[in-house]
Symmetry: C2
Subunit: 325 residues, 2 copies
């Protein structure tokens, strides 16, 4: 079994309850709501975020049982974000299927996203755990803020590595952080334990997004294939582009600038940009950055006693970075 499969096995009992709750709470007397919600929710995502919530609770002994509600809430928050992101990015596909907005339209995707967010908060409130509610509501605001920041930076050639670090922290890592932190709280962790898991989640999330952003260009080696260069055509200022612009000659900058945000950019144009990335090693450097964050995630767990779950969480980090190699 690979580490994610081991995580699945170790969280299977709780995740069965989480999945039941997810199904129950996607219900509505308005048929379009569960139809659209389940189309996305059942579309084969790994449910990594809720598994992390459950795993963090198990790591500390599973004190309150609240982790089931929080895990389902985290998955709803994530799916609400996906629905809105696909509208914002005008994405046609999600997880190998037509995006929900292509089936039910943008309007329903926006509104069902809002519904899932409302349901997420209801599930959180039911726990009565005001501290975890604070963690997740803050995450919700920061995630939206990060998406706006990313939108504002779209196609902006002046975007810095620091801007990028802020975008991925806000739009991705903060939910990983919150998912792990509320799991630890539910598991009865002390302050140091909660902090350790929060940092683990944050750094895993950072690594995860960096790897995703390298994979969008085919991974470390810049292999071309299906959907390679989507971020480029959408004008997303991810680290491979930012690093390339810092080193590029004027003519190289012009090639990148022409393709960036150009939905009609040809495969050849994308290929030329990836060739520039290769020249300056920007995909490899993005991957190295991911490895730094991965190391920080693993280090965050240093102070915790060894256990089967701890070793799984460590291996999950290494596995998620290995996707890009």
């Amino acid at each position: 079994m690979n580490p994610v499969e081991r995580l699945m096995a170790a969280t299977a009992d709780d995740m069965a309850r989480v999945n039941e709750l997810i199904l129950a709470r996607a219900h509505s007397h308005v048929d379009m709501v569960p139809e659209l919600a389940r189309y996305l929710i059942d579309s084969g995502g790994k449910r990594l975020r809720p598994m992390l919530t459950v795993a963090a609770a198990i790591l500390f002994g599973r004190g309150t049982g609240n982790e089931v509600n929080f895990a389902a809430a985290v998955e709803f928050m994530h799916n609400a974000t996906l629905l809105h992101d696909d509208v914002v990015d005008e994405s046609d596909m999600r997880r190998g299927k037509p995006a929900a907005r292509m089936v039910w339209g943008n309007k329903a995707s926006i509104l069902v996203g809002d519904f899932l967010l409302g349901q997420a908060f209801m599930m959180m409130v039911e726990t009565g755990d005001i501290r975890s509610l604070g963690v997740l509501s803050a995450a919700s605001a920061v995630m939206a803020e990060g998406e706006v920041f990313q939108l504002a930076k779209t196609g902006d050639l002046q975007t810095s590595s620091e801007d990028y670090a802020e975008v991925i922290r806000a739009k991705t890592a903060v939910l990983f952080e919150a998912a792990c932190e509320v799991g630890a709280i539910s598991g009865g962790a002390d302050e140091a334990g909660c902090k350790a898991l929060a940092l683990y989640g944050l750094e895993l999330g950072n690594a995860f997004q960096l790897v995703d952003d390298a994979l969008d260009y085919g991974g470390q080696s810049g292999t071309l294939g299906k959907n390679v260069g989507d971020d480029l055509r959408e004008g997303k200022m991810t680290l491979p582009v930012i690093l390339a612009l810092q080193s590029a000659s004027d003519s190289e900058r012009a090639i990148i600038a022409n393709a960036l945000g150009n939905a009609e950019a040809s495969d050849l144009e994308v290929h030329q940009v990836v060739a520039i990335f290769t020249r300056y090693d920007t995909l490899k450097r993005t991957f190295s950055k991911a490895q730094e964050h991965a190391a920080a995630a693993v280090a965050a767990l240093n102070g915790l006693p060894d256990s089967e779950m701890k070793s799984i969480l460590i291996d999950v980090v290494e596995h998620s970075v290995s996707r890009a190699s």
Copy 2:
């Protein structure tokens, strides 16, 4: 002073704190967030919902001070909904100004709406009042559900009066209900007091939306003017249309069906539809329905001791219904 002005005067001290909080919490280091949020928030809405929260707290003696946070949260929830609704309805104007989506685009409107919702929950969480959090998070989910239901019923000639009652309850009345209920809770009301204020808010909200839906066709008298018939062109199945379809002849049904959901419908076509409404008194009957709900709102306060604030709340109901006469 009219009743809304009296409400403003009676809540002025608390509303000054609410407005400060609203400004502070619309802040973000991402410039586009406060720019867009303040454009909408400062655009001259009456802030009726947060005033009701504050008024309900004052009515019961203002126990905890939490009403300030809840009032600001209610206004953020309302504005988040407006941002998303304008995208969904493809509205060009809002409160006499170009809608935010016309200035910053649909994408930013979706994401800033999400941000306001996250901030709303943060402000609620800060009170530590888990009961009120339950009320408002449930309202949040129901509102989105109501919007999806309305979307699903768009242009559906089979829509019943009961469907319509469900739509306006969910999309409008539930937030009025929640705004009043959490105000009462913050004010230290007993169970009967909380229930009375919740019912008052619900029925006021129902009356409010019925009046709005009659005003969209020029009010009781069906006077034509600017933006008259927007709902018709958007295919919204509001009560005036539903009642007309129930009584109409085949040829009248055809006239309504042709204009319904037809963004290009001419003023003449709208005029013909309004003439059918007049024939069957459907605007007057919509207004009568609003008056029934208004009477129920006033009756909800019967069991409460008389006070200046109670008389203001009663007069606000009558004032809001009088808009349509």
